[in-house]
């Protein structure tokens, strides 16, 4: 089965600091990610895995090198197009949730739609839809702060999928959760990957999570050390 090419990177470098404090966070990254893949980016802290995710998610610009999204060089796109792309095509799930804890679940979930400028009714309809997928539609009016850690991350997933994205970037999505809850969260993410053909790009240092992804990219000191299909099992 041939898949559409989603993201390509050529000769990607990212350097922080100048001269004596110069530090290469990423070196010579060449990647191709297809639509519908589930990719784990694995590495220790400081290996450059988060930096790579930020570059792929168009949150940061590489020092040198090219990133293409759907075949278009992203460096040539104006800021407005980049904002639109992130809003329409990407969903984000973070380890620390990043929710407005004093706001309701609904208001947290509709944030990307609000930014997109979608009207109130449509926002609510789509938020309910997204919350149904993570099985939290009964918590729609609850205050975000009153939820458990697992529920919070499920709300974050609802927020990530509310705009029907093509890609979900998840940065250590289970890092703040216990094993069983983390398992549930991963089940939801992989179900979305399977059923909605959403590309998953998961940054993690957890081998169990990495093993559930179809593809593993290992990073060490800013360089890719291995990139290939997961050996034992793979995604179910």
């Amino acid at each position: 089965m041939t898949k559409d090419l989603l993201l390509e990177t050529y000769n990607l470098h990212k350097t922080y600091g100048k001269k004596s404090t110069k530090f290469d966070a990423l070196c010579d990254i060449d990647l191709k990610i297809n639509t519908g893949e589930s990719v784990a980016i694995i590495g220790k802290s400081g290996s450059g895995k988060s930096t790579l995710m930020h570059l792929l998610a168009l949150l940061d610009q590489p020092t040198t090198g090219t990133i293409k999204l759907h075949g278009t060089k992203t460096a040539e796109l104006p800021a407005r197009r980049l904002n639109r792309l992130r809003n329409h095509e990407f969903g984000f799930v973070f380890q620390q949730f990043f929710m407005n804890s004093n706001d309701s679940v609904l208001n947290n979930v509709i944030l990307p739609l609000k930014i997109a400028g979608i009207g109130f009714r449509e926002r609510k309809r789509r938020a309910i839809e997204a919350l149904k997928i993570v099985e939290l539609e009964d918590k729609i009016h609850a205050k975000a702060n009153d939820l458990s850690g697992g529920q919070k991350q499920r709300v974050c997933i609802a927020r990530a999928i509310v705009n029907n994205p093509k890609v979900i970037f998840a940065d250590e999505p289970t890092g703040n959760l216990d094993t069983i809850t983390g398992e549930k969260i991963m089940n939801i993410l992989f179900k979305l990957n399977r059923e909605k053909d959403i590309t998953l790009i998961i940054v993690t240092h957890d081998e169990d999570i990495a093993n559930r992804c179809r593809r593993q990219i290992r990073i060490q000191d800013g360089k890719i050390t291995s990139d290939g299909k997961t050996q034992k099992g793979g995604a179910k």
């Binding site: 949150l59 992130r86 984000f92 973070f94 990307p112 400028g117």
Partner: protein
């Protein structure tokens, strides 16, 4: 993000820290309250003066004084000009009077109505009484210079300036103390004015007919109006036995001019005669300037309060930007543009200004209208002026001031808003 969502979000963000928001609004309120109340007092006073002037009329009436006298008055105001050498040619005391030749010369100025120039003789009355009472009452009088001037009357008519019968109008309250039934009952009655002779000190009685009773007014300044015939009789009684040269000295004159005529030309003509002219509009203008200056000073205090409030806005929003660093980062990651982030914080500042000025308008209206009611109670200083609103709120003024304050708040908010807009989403998300 839609504008309505930005405004709603800005307001709900303000509600997150209620006490801090309230205190910032309070600071803005102090400034806006001061400025709005001041403007309302200014409007009230000015519209009162305008109403009085409109009721006073007095078009085409000008008061004339020697220019040297005005220069002296200005000299007194300006303080010490240093020693000036005596010059017999320019004897200051001589220049303080208008001589007979000059009086005729005034009539020749283009625009002055011939025969209308009249020496203005200020006269004093010792007391007023009538044959209905034994009591004597103090009275201050003014000659009514022209029937163009409308007097607010509760009964009767104005004294006729062209009549040869001595006529007077009474001030409020005089009808009763002089033994007449009421204001209307005083019309046509005779009152006796006692005049002190300037040479001998003897009291000479002059009778006058009451033709009207005045309503309270600032234009008449608590004086009864006389017609020329009565004024001349009082002047004669007061200057009897004085040398004619002394008695006939003229300090001020009045004249009527064609309202269509060029007033600047008339004033220039008076200047050439070493005189200076002042119309009712001129003196009202001086009065207004005086009030304006007082109110401008108070408005400056309000402005200083607003300046302090602006620093409060900057402080509040900087704290808010700090607290919401991650949220800003998240929203930018989700595609919110820097411009919208700037707009969002700007609207927070504008909202602070909006609520502060709304509170200022509301409370100053409450205070102003309460003060209006209290000061119009019997015995209070505005009891006699039912038409005078001490404070007058016009919607235009309130809107302009509110918009001005919102603009100042916006300016104060630009610094924090720029700081928020420049946040890099990655750094912001990493921020602990």
């Amino acid at each position: 993000m839609k504008l309505i969502d930005i405004i709603k979000t800005a307001n709900s963000n303000l509600l997150r820290n209620k006490i801090r928001t309230f205190l910032t609004i309070l600071a803005i309120f102090i400034g806006s309250f001061t400025i709005i109340l001041n403007t309302a007092v200014n409007t009230g006073v000015n519209s009162f003066i305008d109403k009085q002037v409109a009721s006073a009329g007095g078009d085409g009436y000008i008061e004339i004084a020697p220019a040297a006298m005005l220069a002296q008055i200005e000299g007194m105001m300006g303080g010490n000009n240093g020693p000036q050498e005596y010059n017999p040619e320019q004897n200051a005391s001589e220049l303080n009077y208008i001589d007979a030749e000059t009086l005729t010369a005034i009539e020749d100025i283009n625009g002055i109505i011939p025969g209308s120039v009249r020496p203005l003789r200020n006269v004093r009355v010792e007391y007023v009484t009538s044959n209905k009472t034994h009591t004597k009452w103090k009275l201050r009088v003014n000659e009514l210079p022209s029937n163009n001037i409308n007097i607010d009357l509760t009964a009767g008519n104005s004294p006729r300036t062209d009549s040869d019968q001595p006529e007077i109008t009474l001030l409020p309250g005089f009808a009763e103390v002089l033994g007449f039934v009421d204001d209307a009952g005083a019309i046509g009655q005779t009152v006796t004015l006692a005049i002190k002779n300037q040479a001998t000190g003897e009291l000479i009685n002059v009778d006058a007919t009451v033709v009207g009773v005045q309503a309270p007014s600032v234009v008449s300044m608590g004086r009864s109006w006389l017609n020329a015939a009565l004024n001349d009789r009082i002047f004669a009684a007061s200057t009897k036995y004085l040398p004619a040269e002394y008695a006939n000295r003229v300090m001020f004159a009045t004249a009527e001019f064609d309202p269509e005529a060029d007033l600047d030309f008339i004033k220039k003509g008076l200047e050439e005669l070493n005189l200076s002219g002042m119309t009712i509009d001129d003196s009202i203008g001086m009065m207004k300037t005086f009030f304006d200056i007082i109110l401008i000073v108070f408005s400056i205090f309000g402005g200083i309060a607003l300046l302090a409030a602006s620093i409060g806005i900057i402080n509040t929003l900087l704290m808010s930007v700090q607290e919401r660093t991650r949220e800003i980062g998240l929203m930018k990651a989700m595609g919110l543009s820097s411009g919208k982030v700037f707009l969002s914080f700007s609207f927070e500042a504008i909202s602070l200004g909006f609520w502060g000025s709304l509170l200022g308008i509301g409370l100053s209206m409450l205070v102003g209208n309460t003060a209006n009611t209290i000061f119009h109670q019997p015995g209070m200083f505005l009891a006699d002026f039912p038409t005078f609103s001490l404070v007058e709120f016009t919607p235009a003024n309130c809107i302009i001031i509110a918009l001005g304050i919102m603009f100042i708040a916006f300016l104060a908010g630009t610094l924090p808003a720029i700081k928020a807009a420049r946040k890099n989403p990655i750094d912001a998300l990493r921020y602990e």
